[in-house]
Amino acid sequence: MTTVQSGSDPVLAVDRLTIDLAGRTSQPGLVQEVSFSVAQGRSLALIGESGCGKTLTAMAILGLLPPELRVTGGEIRFGGENLLTASRRRLRRIRGGPIGMVFQDPMSSLDPTMTVGDQIGESRRLHLGESRRESRAKARELLDRVGIANAARRVDVYPFEMSGGMQQRVMIAAAIACEPKLVIADEPTTALDVTIQAEILELLRSLQDDMGLSVLLVTHDLGVVADFCDDVVVMYAGHVVEKTAVEPLFAQPQHPYTRALLDSVPQTGRARTMLDVIPGRVPPAGTFPTGCRFQPRCGFAEPDVCDAPQPEFEPVAGHWCRCVRVGTHALDLARVA
């Protein structure tokens, strides 16, 4: 099957998503007007430090926000349907059906009392109404598909009998069991060794090629982004600060936060030299500054410019950047050493 390029209707479109603490709308959003879309067959990375709202955004798409948080604005369109107005019953049909999920820690996501075959088959029984026998045969096929040797025997194994890499393959098999259009993967390889990580990414890539699957990947590993993703959304303190395709993001980062994040990664050939560090830390929720939320930590911030309310930003040649100084051409990071 061919991979569809961008330009077609997006599989997932998040539009001005805002998430607040329930009953405390006076405080600036934990996630504020976040917009991005994932095209068919493509993979999009959500990156940023802890506390930037990446996981909250992913959870909101799945309708799995904790009860103390509320979506207070925006739309999440999936195949023409607004997931924010969908009933809980409808969301249950979508989760594990057309949207698959993979989380960081397979051991706490898999049910320790069920064999892996039952768990993979469960979604086929629930979503497609298959019989036990049918779903079991399918589970075996899926285990084989995700590269687990001896699938016929492994369907009867419990999660604790498998290694972490194997468990994550089982998670992926369960996520793709109902032939989803989109898989949301939150740090799927963070707990794994690099060799296993490379195999898991390779597996996701081959599933994309075979099934035209779209992937939303939440990660903080820039190596994984460079390896696997087509598009990148950088989040800082609940705002999207930059979004573009993966090559320009690494080659010409425009937002000072993206640039600082890239600069904090050790470079080959510069071992044992001091790295650039972003001073301070991500402000805790509810204490976000006005204007640009990165401005207190930014080396290029300008008083009365960066702390003023921000205008609308438009993409330039497909590259979107939330920085007033970049938007007015006062700052061009490509010219800053």
């Binding site: 972490g164 060794d193 296993i196 690494f250 050790p266």
Partner: protein
């Protein structure tokens, strides 16, 4: 069991000049896995199987490998945190393997650890000031503790005012700095850091890497850095030792080892580390390893890596390669290195082991 009777490897071939800050030779450690009704051990797992480590004053040895490779256990053995089943540990040329009681306590001042999770490494009921000065109290060092706490916190670039706070009020990066300050309190000769940056964000990680570099430049302590995060190891280490199933398979100067890995396992491991540059990363070819590492309680005969090795020969099942010196101060444990350069043909998928 066959792996218990394996001959120990020849000592490091690198010519020793001045005594290294820490030298461990032939370290071995096994853990009981299963006991019978009479509580006799019937199955053991050999976690560290004849490992030599050496780190010179003011330098850093990076210890890498997958989970289960024994890298953390090896570091703990070298730090005398866990008693070894065999092998010797020398600090500044003095054999300290049999140190017990008061002598061991004095040695602890020379060998200090920093652990992965700064959340569980600090007592939540004690203040930061208490945490960093406790080693001084334990070792009976006299002086003004409040002053010492302020000095230690300043040394790790923390506000001395944090001394009165408790760990819960600190960020992950600040807590890890507190752990480093505590490890430095007794001016150790060797700092053993086990995954010191794994629980941290990118920018916080950069701050801890800078701190460890600066402290080493200031005080000249040796460091053993255990990590599965290759970026961290590559950035800090002068030399790198690669472990697989309890053994060191390759050791050498960091730049050369990363630039031109010789052991097939090192090659595969490095090729799996994604480079944060899409243009470079997408032009690389990865050496694929089939399957997970074998069960450490029942490792393969001969070379432990042969079941996953893309270039294994039939004789790899018989010959147990010792770590052997090659050019450029490198040591490699592979019968194919030094004879013919192992090339990496496309590996075939094999069913289990």
């Amino acid at each position: 069991m066959k792996n218990l009777t394996r001959k120990s490897q020849p000592a490091s071939a690198a010519a020793p000049t001045a005594a290294p800050a820490l030298r461990a030779t032939g370290l071995r450690k096994s853990f009981p896995l299963r006991r019978d009704l009479l509580n006799r051990v019937v199955e053991r797992v050999v976690a560290v199987d004849g490992v030599d480590l050496q780190v010179a004053q003011g330098t850093t040895l990076g210890l890498v490998g997958e989970s289960g490779s024994g890298k953390s256990t090896a570091a703990r053995l070298a730090g005398l945190l866990v008693p070894a089943d065999g092998g010797t540990v020398e600090v500044d040329g003095v054999d300290v393997t049999r140190a017990r009681g008061r002598a061991l306590k004095e040695l602890r001042a020379k060998l200090q650890m920093v652990f992965q999770d700064p959340y569980s490494a600090l007592d939540p009921t004690k203040t930061v000031g208490h945490a960093v000065t406790e080693p001084l109290v334990v070792h009976g060092r006299r002086g003004d503790l409040a002053e010492a706490a302020a000095a230690l916190l300043t040394r790790v670039s923390l506000d001395p005012g944090l001394a009165r706070r408790r760990p819960e009020e600190l960020s992950g990066g600040q807590r890890q700095r507190v752990c480093v300050a505590r490890a430095l309190a007794l001016e150790p000769r060797v700092l053993i850091a086990d995954e010191p940056t794994s629980a941290l964000d990118l920018s916080t990680r950069a701050g801890i890497l800078n701190l460890l570099l600066r402290l080493q430049q200031e005080s000249g302590q040796a460091m053993i850095l255990v990590s599965h995060d290759f970026a961290t190891v590559q950035h800090l280490a002068d030399r790198i030792a690669v472990m697989y199933l309890g053994r060191v398979v390759e050791e050498g100067p960091a730049e050369q080892l990363v630039g031109e890995p010789l052991h097939p396992y090192t090659k595969a491991l490095l090729s799996a580390v994604p480079i944060p540059d899409p243009v470079v990363q997408r032009s690389r070819r990865r050496t694929v390893l089939q399957g997970d590492p074998p069960n450490p309680a029942d490792p393969p005969s001969g070379c432990h890596f042969r079941t996953r090795c893309p270039v294994a020969l039939p004789e790899c099942a018989r010959i147990d390669p010792a770590l052997t010196a090659v050019d450029g101060g490198r040591q490699v444990a592979c019968i194919r290195v030094g004879t013919t350069t192992p090339t990496a043909p496309l590996p075939t998928r094999s069913e289990g082991r």
